[in-house]
């Protein structure tokens, strides 16, 4: 494994510890949500990177469709799995935050519903991959399915603007106090480093599996003497 992956993973871990410490004990309570607002520093970075990682999967899918290179398919496979893990965490964190602020664990709001559809469609891509034996067919079908599933990612992002939603719209540095922006950025950096490590590590697993299932080379043809 390249040295940069170790460094990214280790830095990600250290930054996450620092970011969570700042979020829990240093950042001020949110003006209306009080201490519950500290969930901002975990929920929002996870949401942003769930969608970004699905963007990486989309790039991998397009890369395979345009070049037929298996490296792009491995990227697609790796990013979809990491994205699904992030999407599951995103929905759980949203539910935990929703109870003290909205009074319910779950509601069929446009943002929550589109984020759930996002999870289900990418789980569908994983199931499709597992049901396909041929590596070439698997890569092609997975790439096409990823492109289709990806249509919902911008919809999920824009859902709070397009429809009446209980979920708040995206915050900006102008709407959040300076200490909150600082803590948020530390946690974003942690997430970026950890996602890099997760995807790189998962890409390597995909590559190893592809090599293992590749057919053994044919034995040399017998010499024909006349």
């Amino acid at each position: 494994m390249p040295k940069w992956e170790h460094i990214a993973g280790l830095l990600g871990l250290i930054t996450l510890i620092v970011g969570h410490y700042l979020g829990l004990f240093w950042a001020p309570p949110e003006r209306m949500m009080g201490d519950v607002g500290r969930l901002f520093y975990v929920h929002v970075p996870v949401a942003m990177f769930a969608m970004l990682v699905f963007c990486v999967a989309f790039v991998g899918a397009l890369g395979y469709l345009l070049t037929s290179r298996m490296e792009a398919d491995w990227l697609n496979e790796a990013a979809i799995e990491v994205g699904v893990v992030m999407n599951v965490l995103l929905l759980m964190l949203g539910s935990i935050w929703g109870k003290p602020t909205w009074g319910v664990w779950w509601t069929w709001d446009p943002r929550l519903t589109s984020a759930t559809v996002m999870l289900l469609t990418f789980v569908g891509v994983i199931l499709l991959r597992q049901a396909t034996q041929s590596p070439e067919k698997r890569a092609t079908w997975s790439a096409v399915a990823t492109v289709l599933a990806f249509v919902n990612v911008p919809v999920t992002y824009m859902s709070v603007k397009w429809w009446r939603s209980i979920h708040q719209m995206q915050s900006t540095p102008e709407t959040v106090s300076e200490p909150m922006v600082f803590v948020f950025r530390v946690n974003l950096l942690a997430m970026a480093l950890l996602m890099t490590w997760f995807i790189a590590r998962r890409w390597r697993i995909a590559k190893h599996r592809a090599m293992a299932e590749a057919p053994a080379p044919l034995p040399p043809a017998p010499q024909v003497t006349s």
């Binding site: 494994m1 993973g9 979020g23 009080g34 969930l39 975990v42 997760f198 697993i205």
Partner: protein, 48 residues
């Protein structure tokens, strides 16, 4: 009371159990996934 005054102006009190649950869950899922990546990697538990 005017509609403006009828709006809530206070701050949610407490709720630390939700905060701990959220942060704890994040560590649980990230830790679990990181372990699964190490276990499934071609070199097994060897990080090199």
């Amino acid at each position: 009371m005017t509609p403006l005054l009828a709006q809530g102006t206070g701050m949610i009190q407490g709720g630390w159990e939700f905060v701990w649950a959220g942060y704890g869950l994040t560590w649980l899922i990230f830790g679990g996934y990181a372990i699964s990546l190490i276990v499934r990697s071609p070199t097994g538990g060897d990080l090199s």
